[in-house]
């Protein structure tokens, strides 16, 4: 299966003398979910930031659809079809739910040339898919609960129809039922043609929705494989990947 995103031997960090990612290589497959798991502080969020241009890799390169985006800046990547649902705070708190849904796509309209009718249609679609957003469309995002916020972030991602969506810890702090819903939306994204790179601490769920899984340890890939391989002996595997080094 061909890869939509290729990370090749990337080294990156926040200050000059400390590398957080150390020679990291991984691929994200087209139209499916790729999982990335690891302990707290392993560098999962740092991978996301490096892909999206918030952090410049010191070594290595990143290819998106065979195009080099290693030194791309965040706003340029957005128009190429990348999207990010960050670990926390992906919303504009003092704008209404509806503005949160519309502003990103309107911003990209200028670059990607979508028609207004198309935008209206996508927003209406999402409102239908997420009844809670329809109900609260005039409220400020800051008035939403944690779960509603996450759903809004997924709604926004759906509106974009991105080629590749990076999702960082979507289930953190959510009630199990809402978390289920969130993972269902991730599967939907993949089914509608979006490739997903998913980071989460709920390893069982990651393996369930992902087709391929990477384990990140101290900034490098320490294990990888088809998720079907892991499903058989999850407990033992997890122990081996994560227990061994600590």
């Amino acid at each position: 299966m061909s890869a939509i995103l290729q990370i090749e031997n990337v080294t990156a960090g926040y200050s000059a003398d400390i590398d957080i990612l150390r020679g990291l290589s991984l691929n994200v497959r087209k139209s499916s979910v790729t999982g990335l798991v690891g302990l707290n502080g392993a560098g999962k969020s740092t991978v996301m930031k490096s892909i999206f241009g918030f952090l410049r890799p010191r070594v290595g390169r990143i290819l998106f659809d065979e195009q080099d985006i290693t030194h791309g800046r965040p706003h340029e990547l957005a128009s190429k079809g990348l999207w990010l649902i960050p670990q926390d705070g992906g919303l504009f708190d003092y704008m209404s739910v509806e503005t949160n849904l519309r502003l990103p796509i309107e911003t990209r309209r200028a670059v990607n040339g979508l028609s207004r009718a198309e935008i209206d249609r996508r927003v209406a679609d999402v409102m239908e898919q997420f009844p809670i957003l329809q109900e609260k469309r005039r409220q400020l995002a800051t008035r939403l609960s944690g779960g509603q916020r996450k759903l809004l972030e997924f709604g926004i991602a759906h509106v974009q129809r991105p080629t590749l969506c990076l999702i960082d810890e979507p289930s953190i702090g959510l009630a199990p039922k809402v978390a289920e819903e969130v993972f269902a939306h991730i599967s939907t994204l993949a089914k509608t043609g979006t490739s997903v790179l998913l980071v989460d601490h709920n390893i069982r769920k990651v393996i369930e929705v992902a087709s391929y899984v990477y384990v990140l340890t101290l900034g490098t890939v320490s294990a990888e494989g088809e998720s079907s391989v892991f499903q058989t002996d999850l407990h033992g595997q997890v122990k081996e990947w994560l227990g061994i080094n600590y």
């Binding site: 800046r73 504009f92 704008m95 990209r108």
Partner: protein, 295 residues
């Protein structure tokens, strides 16, 4: 008497608001206070006066040129001095505040001193926009020039507020103010927005300086008080709130003009400080502070 004081207070307040609006936009987007804001005002005043008097440029050209001068200065300052802090400090607010205060305050002194070197320490009166006999407006004698200046100020003030609230451009600026990284993810070039905001703020302050240059003749240090008043106003209105800047500006104008008759005329510049103390005491987040995010 009261109504005429109200009117004259509102007129002054409009010009205050014009300056404060830019300052509060800068704070909203960059989370820093520009301590050289008064010098944007000063540059605008001098550009207008000097172009007209020394180069014989007509007013219709000198006024836009003054706005352009302030905008260009804002542009350069942001690119040269403010931009680097985002690369260097990342998320650390402390280091960024430190740098921003030191650099903008030093810039303020530099601009005052440089202007003194160039044109001397004197003040130069600016030309009227239009001539004509004074009119009566709600019992206040105002010259056609004042009305024209007020009209232009109002147009720019409400034009900017309108764009901020209803245009895509303005909503993107607000998006950057509310969530820098989310704005970048959706495709907004946050660096460019910061530069544009600084340039806009510079242009608005310069416009105020040019429009007032007939009533308050520009001298190199003329910006100090307009700047201090805008600081009071943005705290009063809520740091980063454009609407707060408008209401705060008008309020300060009215309070000063009431204080000028009922308390003392020569101390009118000090009422702002009293107001500032009251705000800090009673409503530290400002009138529109509830929309302020925690940093």
């Amino acid at each position: 008497m009261l109504s005429s004081m109200l009117v004259s207070g509102l007129i002054t307040g409009t010009f205050y608001a014009l300056m404060a609006l830019g300052l509060t936009m800068i704070f909203g987007v960059l989370r820093i206070v520009n301590f050289a804001h008064g010098e944007f005002y000063m540059i605008g005043g001098f550009a207008y006066v000097l172009l007209y008097h020394n180069l014989g440029v007509p007013i219709a050209v000198a006024l836009p040129a003054a706005v352009l001068a302030g905008g260009t200065l804002g542009w350069i300052v942001e690119k040269l001095l403010i931009r680097p802090i985002y690369a260097e400090f990342g998320g650390r607010q402390q280091g960024r505040d430190e740098y921003a205060i030191i650099v903008t305050f030093a810039l303020s002194i530099l601009l005052i001193a440089a202007m003194t070197k160039i044109v001397g320490p004197w003040s130069l009166q600016g030309p009227r926009l239009i001539d004509g006999p004074p009119l009566l407006l709600a019992g206040v004698r105002v010259s056609p020039h004042q009305i024209a200046a007020l009209g232009i100020a109002l147009a720019f003030l409400f034009g900017t507020l309108y764009l901020l609230n209803y245009s895509l451009w303005g909503r993107q600026i607000r998006a950057v103010a509310q969530n820098r990284s989310a704005a970048a993810v959706m495709g907004v070039d946050v660096g460019k927005v910061s530069t544009i905001v600084f340039a806009t703020a510079g242009g608005l302050a310069a416009l105020a300086g040019a429009l007032l240059s007939n009533m308050i003749s520009p001298s190199p240090d003329v910006g100090a008080f307009p700047a201090i008043k805008s600081y009071v106003i943005i705290v009063l209105g809520g740091l980063g709130s454009p609407l707060g800047a408008l209401i705060g500006g008008l309020l300060l104008g009215v309070i000063e003009s009431l204080g000028a008759i009922y308390i003392s005329f020569s101390y009118r510049d000090t009422y702002g400080l009293a107001l500032l103390v009251l705000v800090l005491l009673l409503r530290p987040n400002g009138l529109f502070g509830e929309t302020r995010r925690e940093v």
